[in-house]
Amino acid sequence: MRTGEIVTAGLLGLFSLYLMWKSAELPVGYIAGQGPGGGFWPFWLSAVMLLACGMIALNWWRGTSPPSQSDEPLLDAYGWRTLALVGGGIVVFVGLINVVSMYGAIAVFLLYYMRFLGRHSWALTLPMALIVPLAFFFFFEGAMRITMPSGMSFTDPVFDVLYDIIY
C-alpha cells in the first residue's frame, strides 16, 4: 500500500505534466483585452493537479494519510486473480467486438463469466448466452435504431437474416 500510494501520486503527477505540456500547444496566458487563451483552463488546472500530487507525496512522506501508513499489500493473491479474470475478461470482451460483432462478444462474455467464474450450470448458461444477445439485438437495432458493430465480414449472413426480420 505504502509504495502504491507514492507510485499512484507519481503517475498522476506525470500525467498532469503531460496534460500541461499538451495544453501549451494553445496560448496558456492571459491575453490582454481578450481574457484567457485556449490552453489557459486545462494548463492551470493541470498545474493545480500537479501541486495536489505534490501535497499527496508530502503527506506520504510525513505518513499522515491512511494508505501511506498501512503495510497491507495493494491486493492479495485473491484480489489480483479477480482483477485479472474479471478485468481481463472485460478487455477481451471489448477486443472481440470488432471480430465477432457486439452480440457475438456479449454471448462469449456471458458464457465465460457465468460458466467459468460463476460456476452456473450449462443449462442456465447456454440459454442466457443466446437469449441476452438476441434481446439486445431486437432492443438496440429494432426498437432503438442504434446499429452496433457487426464485426468482420464473416458475420454478414447472420446479420442479413436478422435485419430482414426486423425491417
Binding site: T8, S16, V86
Partner: protein
Amino acid sequence: MEILALLGDGMLLALQPLNLSLILIGVTVGLFIGAMPGLGSVNGVAILLPITFLVPPGSAIIFLAAIYYGAMYGGAISSVTLGIPGASTAVATTFDGRPLAMQGKASLALVTAALASFIGGTVANVFFTLFAPALASVALSFGPPEIFALMLLAFATFVGLGGDDIPKTIVSICLGLVLASVGFDTISGEPRLILFEMQGFLQGIGFLVLAIGVYGIGEMLWTIEQSRGEVTTTTPRMTARGMVDDTKEAVRRGWKGTWIGSVLGFFVGVLPAAGATPGSLMSYGVAKMVSRTPEKFGKGNPDGVAAPEAANNSASTGSMLPMLTLGIPGSPTTAILLGGMVIWGLVPGPRLFVDETEFVWGLIGSFYISNLAAVIINLAFIPLFVWMLRMPFTILAPMIFVLSIAGGYAATRDMHDVWLMVIFGLGAFFLRRFDYPLAPAVLAIVLGPIAEPTLRQSLLLSSGDPSIFFTRPIAGPITVIALILIFLPAIQLLRRRRAARRRAA
C-alpha cells in the same frame, strides 16, 4: 382564471382516449429507456419522432413529452439498482440511492425517487402554468457571466462532497475539469488536448464515458474484489405492506429534500445553458447544507435521493419553457422536440403562446397527466426492479458489464469511447483503492464544458476585465455567495486547526 380554463381544456385534450393511451405507452417506454445506462430520453424521443407522423401533431408531441417524463423517472432506477447513473441528471441520485440499495432498502430509495419526482414535476408544472412568459424573460437576462456565476455556485454547493483527503479531492476535481476540455475549443475554434494524437479525442470525452467507466466497471470490480465473491444484498421480498411502509418512510424522511429540489431545480432548469444536471447537484448540496444531520448524507439518506430526483424532474419541465417560449432548446432532448415541432409546421418562439393556444395548453395539460401516469407506472414496476437485485451476483455482475459496454457504445457509436471507458474503469478501481474520491471528477466533467466557455465569453465581453462577474446586477450577488460558500469550509478548518493548536500549546 382564463389560464385555468385553458389548462382545463388542455387536460381534457390529454385525457382523450388516443392521447391517454399514447401517454401510458410513452411513459412505460420512456421508463425502460431511461433505466438503461447510456440511453436516455434523447434516444427515446429521437427514435420515436418519425413514427409520430401516424398521429396528429398535438397527440405526437404529447406522446414525446410522455416518453420524456418516463425517461426522467427511469434515470433513478439504474442509479439505485445498478449504481450507474444512466444520465448526468442522475449522478447525485447514486450518492444516497446506491448505499440504500446495498443496505437492502432499494425499494425505499425507488419509492422516494418516484414520489420526489412526482412532486418536483408537479411543482414545476404549476410554476410553468402561472408564470411561463415572465420566466422566459428571466431566462433571457442570464448571459454568459450569470451562467458562469451559477456554475461557480454549483461547484460551491458540492465542495463538501469530496473525501477527507483534501489534495486527493482536488486531484479528482481538476482531472474532471481538464478531461472536459479535451476535444475542441469553442472560443478559438482550435482542436485542443488531442491526447496522444488519437483522432477519437476530437469529439471530446463525454460524461457517460467517464460515468459508466467509473461506476459500471470500476465500482463493480471493487465490489467483486471486496466481497470476495460473496455479494449478498439482503433484499426483502416485496409486499404491498412493505410498499406502504416505504411510502410512509419516504414521506417522513424525504420531504425536505423534495421541496428544495422542486423549487431550486425548476429555476436552474429554466436557464437554457444550465439545465437539469446543475439543478440536481445544487439541490443535493443545498439539502445537505441545510440539514441538521449533514453527516448522514452519502450513507443512505432518503433526503439525498429526494432532492436530486425532485430537482431533475422539475428542471426537465423547466427546460421545456425556453424551448416553447423562445424556441431555444435547453437540452439535447428538447432540441429534438423542437425539431419535431418544426416538422409539424409549428413555430416555437415568442409567438407560440399567442398563435397556437390550443397546442400549448394541450401540451401543458399533458405534462400534468404524464407526470401522474409516470408516478403510478413507476411505482407499479418497483417490485420488478427490486426483483432484479435478487438475482445471484454472478448473473447480475456480467449483465451489468454487458449493459455498460453496449450502452456506452450506443451513446456515441464509437469504439474509441468503449476502450476509454474500460481504461477509466480500471483506473478508477486503483484510485478507489487509494481513497481518491471519484464523484467530484464525474461532476466536474459535466460542469466544466458549461463553466469554461461562459468564463471566456464573459471576459471577451468585458475586454478581459474580471470585475464583470461582480458588477452585473444578477451575476454579482451569485458570485459573492458562491465565493463565500467555497471559502467558508477552508476558513472554518483553518480556524479550528489554529484553535486546536493553541489548546495543545
